[in-house]
Symmetry: C2
Subunit: 920 residues, 2 copies
């Protein structure tokens, strides 16, 4: 057969004529199928009409170019030969699918038309071929509907209503329950719907069907929704779409036919064995509809051993070719195997890690590729507690209480408790407790530390509860709007169920859901995950960025080491202050700090000696007594942490929190006092309460976030920072005497000007020197600051003159750069900002590169210009967020610090950032 | 007389051999005296030993260069001739002063030795010459002490103690009360002290005294304190000091001698008349000691007409030469006039303005020089109320109550009142009221507006009270620590006095002091100050920077115009909300905003019509009813302001304050509720209170400064901003219909991202368009934003895409850049930071160039890059601070905006900034 085809353009490409690089001309879908064919994979035969044809068609007033129809016919003949059936034949019908496909996937366009080439006669032949009329008529009615919709522009609703009517008449609820006869009636109805709407039935001539479908695909390029989609996504309107036409193959032609899905490795466990499902004598829709239950792929060996063998070989080849675990759809038609699709398999975190490591060890991919294969977040998910079994859906539904924002991953079961102190007591008595509060405050730390999980009805994923639990690696759910807590009655209500304090509940911090009753959980450690250890080892060899951990206790520090931390990037001394056993001494110290400072100034900075300072007031005595107690406690705290960390750096931040955080809330005191006035108490007691209330009032601030905290406290009350430095250097000295090498780094919080650093450094260096002289031991330490105010970042060059290290506190920096209070923003407007796209993401979760990032960059550059060997890191929540880790790598930080449980995430993310850089 | 002097260097310069340009060689003091001599002014004769001699002396192991002594002797002979007395002579003694003086003034060095050349014999001659032994012996004992201290290094304490002993014995308290005989005893004691300390008395040989003094001056260059001073101030250690030796002249040699001080113009009023004091037959110390009361300079004409005439001529010449008002010290010795010093005169604000303008008009200086002569702050001081009379010191002391920080200048008298509402009522009844509170809140605005002045016991100069009163031009004193307010008793106690509510007090906002009782005040306006108007006219011709005012009412706007404002740079709509008559509607609107927004979203943004929206809840109805009321009020507000300002720009900021600022404080409600529970009220009433408390609670924020405010409200509750824009454009349209040209500019507060601007602009432009279509009138308006978060400044390039103007809100920007809460910082730590020099000044008073300024600069550059004609200004408190105005000029802003009373200050400061630039 000879035809005149313009030499300038080839209109149509057989699958074996194209390849993966031809997406511009053949579309994404089309070129991928060509690639599979090129590799010799048994895809059903097919061909692609190029995007050039679409462009010509649209440019030339919707006229198909000359010779196209002939070319299509020629290619259909090719399909007939390849598959051994004929287009339009009643006895051995060839049906085809018709798909649109531009270079870029565009959900705004035409769907696929399956089973094209069918009519009243052919459907009968198909029924004979399948040995069952039901699937044949089912295919026919599906074709009629989709063809009417996309080619003839009939509204879909009428078809859905008609089908629903038939099901109601037949007394069934599912499509597949309709019999062949009933489906024939549906077919008749569908034709009538189309005729009523357009004046004619869908054409019965297969060729007419085919050419009309091709034109419809081309026209679909310029539907309003497609144009809108391209406008919105800034896609070129002149690109045009290709049309892929492929032979339909059938897995339901008898016992030597079938269909299935396989994964080249286990997508749950990562085990290196083919995993999948197979259904004999069936089409893909049967699996989806749940008509029959598929069998494990291994069973295929018994019924279709040859195809099974071929499939196993192909699975291996595919994995080798794509160098990744594949998810393959296949159909066997009369013992002939066809692959319909292959793509990278979705997998669990566990499987992702194991397959990446295995494939690297097998030489299939490089170690670098393995590192890039695993989403850094996934590695974090492996390390949180999980429910040990999959609870059936119905039971979960029945037990469901509420859903909130997932604030810290993990799973836990425990008795619900509404009070932090009671939670701590119950936990001390061996009970697993879930602390449930409207919100948590720094005061509640002992309760949070004792609980197995925390739920709050208010607050966002960066609220106090969320931040603390993430640090502790405990599950947390926040902002549960469906939750009504009645503290007085000791109950809460959710999803219509009322739960009493002391009842068991279970929470899933990954999903943000919680349930009535107890569920089993498991808590993996890195030791349980040998592949993760191996992968992280490669990450450590690859990354340039150091990874440290935030830890406040020796136990945290040990955990951090276990997770691979190279040091402590942030040790918060106020967490040590908040221990309820210590709080009395801490409060005594803080409440008398002002009086003591007045005394100190009047007495020219001399050391206070209780026995000789007879003129000092009781407040001054109380202060120094408490200061001594706190010094002892802090010394042993620091000794514990430094001992665990050995020669690794331990960055200890001096007191940062405002004083009122250590005192009871003003309103609680006010309420107590007002109640007291109505009962008979002594005047003295009342006056004492009033004095205390007045004191707490005087420490209150309108905006504590921007208040008297950080080094402002250090300068107002020098005795406190001196005490802390004395404790740090004493702890270090004791360990050095034991022969240990230690490296404490003293960090000043909330600096705004170099002068603060200059004064504190001068004063505190003297303290450190005195301790070393007294103990006769040299302790190596550094002195540096947090950069957490915009001004510190803007004047970092000056500040670097007095700082050996910088640690960016991007939590506070984010608050100040945006003017967002972390405690308020989430519930009030930030969630809406993110949900509605005003901001692309939560700047507290992932660093805001444009704003906060710009300041970090300026700070790094100015700091290094002044002091080239300045050690620079980040110690906020961002340190464990992969995107933020990548940013930290790019701007050249030395390390990130995050909570111990996020250390593996940061290690992997840092390696990926290094690889991304080397690939540019 | 011939001597060998090395040719390389001249050691000694007579006054008439040097001039003002020789400070390197002759020191600052020496070269100035030379300059006076060069001008032919009658300075006492003298000479200078050069700094080169000092350098040689120190380099050559403390050996005086050869020939120096001879050269000194030669020059002393010159002095003898010039003055007609002889050095070392008993009958006609010449005494000299010896002073150190480097090129740069160094307070760490030797003081002046007066009366050198005296001894036991000479003092007797001096007594004869003076006709009174008392001043002669007084001069002698002063010489002995200072010589012993600086040349012989005897401790000063011993002399002070001895003198005190003599006064006690004589039963007197003042030095001048000692008789000649008693002073002789002092002299004997002083010699003994020196002998006891050093083994010898001060030398009696005048030449020995002189040479020892010269060497001592040279040695003083290298005392530890001088070295430390130079180190600290980075002064070259090799510079060396000069030594000035000058003849002592005496005003106490008889009736043709005398001493005095004159100003070439009146330093209080600026009147162009010589003003000064004269004391016949006296030395300068007599004036200082208050022995006798000087007479007006005019009286001199009677006793010493020739000297008076000479002095008047010199005064004129000096003013012409220095082109500034001079403050001249003179002495007349036996009818011979000597000028001892002349310098620019200190003067009052009034005098500074008048003399500058007069001198420019006289052609003595240029208009530019006149502009630079007046401290811009001074012009502000002229425009605040002042006490009309000078109250005697004793009465002020008696009436004194307390001193706080001067937060807003001016003076006022009124009855004291502790409550804002009561203050408003009293004021409405015609009473002058001073509002005295622990601190003020936005709720108190009606009381502040009604009061003549405000005093707070807490807070700093940037607290709410301070900021609001400065805007209103009323005096304010804050942070009065000596003040105990007892609100329950209705009294306050200060300086031991108890004052009842309703008593009269008077306050001075310049000094920060307040007093019992009523005092008369006057309130000048610009119209009372013709010279100021003239000067400001020159300023307007000179400055490049525009000056606008912050004004919220038509009265403010009129005041702003009177002060020379070119437009309104900030009209705060929330101040309109806070009027107590409006607050009910405002609260009804805000409390139902959430419910209305839920309704709006559900109803697809359609306009609410009370008559047809039957399904809407009561809350939604209440909201729209209140919204309508507020719209009416705002429309007439805006109409009033726009009418006053005519075609000038009026920048109106949409609602900025967090909603809870318009509601009663939570604690007040809590206290009320708790009290209610103990009295018998209906359950319904209790529940209603509880519901209200709950609502107020839900709007509370931990850090309201960083909370749900500004455009965050605008996006959460679109109806409110739409209402405001409708009111603005309606007001504009009504005026345009009347034939007026108006230029409202709509300003969005607290932007952090361009997307906020994009959405609001799209939405609000539509509202503006609808109003214009409805009213059939075109209103010209602009749309822009405040840059008041660091992120807005950092992403200003993006934000400029959606903004026609920027207004830097440097109050909030300063809070966020430093992390300083304006409401808290002052009292807690900021005052200490400034007092102790951690920060050089208050960043809320004067813009922080390093930090905040860096962001402003970035914002300006990025904004202009994107939109070259972007209109940029500043509207915070800084707009009225001269240093900040200079910064705004330097970074190229278009205008500053400040409170109306600061507009003249800004006009002058802007002119000075322009002049400073042109001089570089």
């Amino acid at each position: 057969m000879t035809m005149e085809v313009p030499q300038t353009a080839k209109h149509v490409y057989r699958f074996d004529e194209g390849n993966a690089s031809m997406a511009d001309l053949l579309g994404g879908k089309g070129s991928n199928l060509c690639e599979m064919a090129r590799l010799g994979l048994p895809v059903p035969p097919g061909f692609v009409i190029s995007t050039q044809v679409c462009r010509d068609y649209l440019a030339d007033n919707q006229t198909l170019p000359e010779g196209l129809e002939a070319s299509i016919k020629e290619n259909i003949q090719g399909l007939e030969k390849a598959i051994g059936r004929n287009f339009g034949s009643v006895s051995d019908p060839l049906l085809v699918s018709v798909r649109s496909g531009a270079r870029i996937s565009m959900p705004g366009m035409m769907d696929t038309i399956l089973n094209l080439g069918i009519n009243d006669q052919i459907v009968a032949g198909l029924a004979t071929m399948m040995g069952d009329p039901r699937p044949a008529y089912d295919a026919y009615r599906r074709f009629l509907q989709i063809y009417s919709e996309v080619v003839m522009e009939v509204d879909a609703d009428a078809f859905e209503k008609a089908l629903a009517n038939h099901k109601r008449k037949a007394g069934v609820t599912q499509d597949f329950q309709l019999t062949a006869e009933q489906l024939q009636a549906v077919v008749a109805d569908f034709k009538k719907i189309t005729k009523d709407a357009t004046g004619k039935e869908p054409p019965s001539d297969p060729w007419e069907q085919l050419m009309a479908a091709v034109k419809a695909v081309f026209r679909s390029w310029n539907t309003p929704r497609a144009i809108f989609y391209r406008d919105y996504n800034k896609i070129d309107h002149n690109m045009g779409t290709a049309v892929t036409i492929m032979a339909m193959v059938f897995g339901n032609l008898g016992p030597t036919s079938g269909t299935g899905v396989l994964f080249t490795r286990n997508p749950s466990t990562g085990d290196a064995e083919v995993y999948g499902e197979f259904l004999s004598n069936a089409q893909g829709e049967d699996v989806v509809a749940g008509v029959r239950t598929p069998e494990p792929i291994a069973r295929m060996e018994d019924v279709l051993p040859e195809s099974h063998g071929q499939l196993m070989t192909l699975a291996k080849d595919l994995e080798t070719h794509y160098a990744d675990v594949q998810d393959v759809e296949f159909t066997i038609e009369n013992a002939r195997l066809f692959l319909l699709q292959t793509r990278s398999a979705k997998r669990t975190a566990l499987s992702a890690v194991k397959t990446a490591v295995d494939m690297a060890n097998e030489g299939l991919i490089t170690q670098s590729q393995a590192l890039l294969r695993v989403d850094a977040e996934e590695i974090g998910k492996l390390l949180v507690p999980q429910f040990s079994t999959d609870m059936p859906e119905e039971i979960l539904k029945e037990r469901f209480l509420a859903r909130g924002a997932p604030a810290s991953p993990g799973a836990a079961s425990g008795v619900v408790c509404f009070d932090a102190t009671k939670a701590a007591e119950l936990a001390a008595a061996g009970e697993a407790v879930i602390l449930l509060r409207p919100e948590t405050k720094p005061d509640d730390i002992h309760g949070i530390a004792a609980a197995v999980g925390v739920i709050t009805s208010r607050g966002g994923v960066t609220s106090h509860a969320a931040v603390v639990t993430r640090g502790l690696g405990k599950p947390c759910i926040v902002g549960c709007e469906g939750l009504q807590v009645n503290l007085e009655a000791g109950t809460f209500t959710a999803d219509g169920k009322t739960v009493r304090e002391g009842d068991w509940i279970s929470m899933d911090g990954v999903l943000g859901t919680f349930y009535l009753g107890d569920m089993d959980t498991v808590h993996p450690t890195l030791d349980d995950l040998p592949e993760a250890i191996e992968l992280l080892g490669w990450a450590d060899e690859t990354r340039r960025l150091g990874v440290m951990a935030n830890a406040d206790t020796p136990a945290d520090a040990a955990q951090a080491l276990n997770m691979g931390a190279e040091g402590i990037g942030l040790c918060r001394t106020e967490h040590m202050f908040l221990d309820p056993r210590r709080l009395p001494a801490v409060r005594q110290m803080l409440l008398n700090a002002e009086a003591a400072e007045v005394w100190r100034r009047a007495n020219g900075d001399r050391v206070f000696r209780a026995e000789s300072e007879e003129e000092a007031s009781q407040a001054v005595r109380d202060f120094y007594e408490a200061l001594g107690q706190v010094r002892e406690l802090q010394t042993s705290d620091f000794e514990g942490i430094l001992k665990v960390m050995g020669a690794r750096p331990v960055i200890i931040r001096l007191l940062d929190a405002p004083l009122h955080e250590f005192l009871p809330p003003y309103e609680t005191l006010l309420t107590e006092l007002m109640e007291l006035r109505h009962v008979s108490v002594s005047l003295a007691e009342l006056q004492e309460k009033e004095a205390f209330l007045h004191l707490v009032d005087s420490l209150r601030e309108s905006n504590p976030m921007l208040g008297h905290r950080g080094c402002r406290l250090g300068l107002s009350f020098p005795a406190i920072y001196r005490m802390q430095v004395e404790a740090i250097i004493t702890a270090g000295a004791l360990l050095v005497k034991e022969g240990l090498d230690v490296n404490p780094e003293i960090m000043i919080p909330l600096t705004v000007d170099v002068e603060e650093m200059h004064r504190l450094r001068q004063d505190l260096s003297l303290v450190a020197a005195q301790v070393q002289v007294r103990l006769g031991v040299k302790v190596h330490y550094k002195f540096g600051t947090m950069i957490e105010t915009p001004r510190a970042a803007l004047t970092a060059g000056e500040i670097a003159k007095e700082s050996e290290f910088f640690s960016f506190g991007t939590n506070d920096l984010t608050q100040m750069v945006f003017g967002f209070s972390r405690d308020d923003a989430e519930g009030k407007f930030l969630r809406a900002y993110i949900d509605e796209g005003v901001l692309p993401n939560d700047p507290f979760a992932s660093i805001d590169v444009q704003g906060v990032g710009a300041l970090v960059k300026m700070g790094v550059e100015a700091g290094r210009r002044e002091r080239p060997n300045l050690e620079i890191g980040i110690c906020g929540e961002h340190g464990g967020d992969p995107a933020s880790v990548a940013f930290c790598h790019e701007v050249g930080l030395d390390y990130v610090s995050c909570s111990p449980y996020r250390v593996p995430v940061a290690r992997l993310a840092a390696a990926q950032a290094a690889l991304a850089e080397s690939q540019i």
